[in-house]
Symmetry: C2
DNA sequence: GTAGTCATGTAAGAGGTTACATGATTAG
DNA sequence: CTAATCATGTAACCTCTTACATGACTAC
């Protein structure tokens, strides 16, 4: 139940509505754990029932209302307990790798297109993630300030460093995928140069 | 629906029972796409209904029977079509990264334990995947021979190379994760050396 | 008034996990 | 005879995706 813990982690920064939580989530945590609003709103309701968060219903304009969620003591305890639990590694499930393993049923053109798309996908991701690292250094990340304000100054370095560290992990993975795609393109060039046929050409 | 296509890919090697398919799957494709037998048996039934595979019910001993699946023309066409489709990249969902981003709610000891476990997890995976690359080179992989026998000799190199390439991708990812964990451990050492406190110590 | 943003849901269905369940065959 | 392996399922439950749905507020 990592979604729940990701939401708890966001709420440590400050109380907020589901809508704001989702906006912030999409700008940060979603690079490590994605979730649509259709999953988040119901989850917040369940977390409320489990007393991990509290709600304040606040009027908005004349007729409307909004629900402002804040972390409870139990919620923080749950987050801390989760951080100490041994991580369960989700099963590998990578469609681009399955495809690559069976390129012989495809064609040089299609295989190249797959690898170029792979490279483009991770290049875009890399740019985003490196941008996030820059934003963290420059303290341009929404909610980072309110997060820091809650903790003594001595802890600030660690807080920022851990976030940078997480994004560097994503960046490293993206770089590995880009290199892999390049390697695959070189392999295709070599095989085609040697005149090696396969299904698509046979 | 990548599971379906992963199963079709395995069945290109030779006709086999669900049981054998699962054994082979677990030894190879599962490193890129995992699935339990409770998902595979029903999927094979659905693939049969969709005429992607054919079944021969074969007696086994005196009383028992087994169902031997083989790929149909439609099944091979479906596999080939899938290989040309643009890959849909599954959303990022990495619990170890989410944890790392919030280590400040944990303690030095717990954060170190997480990163050591991360390193151990990917070191084990790396050993497995590098072993797979060796086995492919030495042609020790079950079904590889029957797969090759079906295709002209000129294609063999490409077939083996694509499988090696896929596993090298997994290996590269594992190496990136190991490096990341090392980097994190070094970061923890530095912060602790500088006397930086956080939640667990506050 | 109207477009963009704020705000919060529901619901059907696909995909995946975990546990339960059974029984035949074969090698020793 | 007994353990390992061969063989095939079902079912409950959870998670996630996709689509549908609504309406208030705010700046122009």
């Amino acid at each position: 139940m990592s979604l729940r813990h990701a939401l708890l982690a966001v709420l440590t920064a400050e109380p907020m509505t589901g809508y704001n939580l989702i906006r912030y989530f999409d700008g940060t945590v979603a690079y490590m754990w994605q979730a649509p609003h259709s999953q988040i709103y119901p989850e917040l309701r369940r977390m409320e029932q489990d007393e991990l968060v509290e709600v304040e219903v606040v009027p908005r304009g004349k007729r409307a209302e909004k629900r402002v969620y804040s972390l409870t003591g139990k919620g923080l305890a749950e987050l801390r307990a989760w951080l100490e639990e041994p991580t369960l590694y989700p099963p590998e499930r990578d469609p681009s790798r399955v495809r690559a393993a069976h390129f012989e049923f495809s064609s040089y053109a299609a295989a190249r297109a797959q690898l170029r798309a792979h490279r483009a996908h991770y290049a875009a991701a890399l740019a985003t993630w490196e941008g996030m690292v820059d934003d963290l250094e420059a303290r341009r990340v929404p909610l980072l300030d309110s997060r820091l304000r809650q903790r003594p100054r001595a802890e600030h370095e660690a807080i920022v460093e851990f976030k940078r560290f997480a994004f560097r992990g994503e960046s490293a993975k993206a770089r590995a995928e880009i290199d892999w795609a390049e390697e695959g393109l070189a392999l295709l060039d070599r095989l085609e140069g040697e005149g090696v046929p396969f299904w698509g050409e046979g």
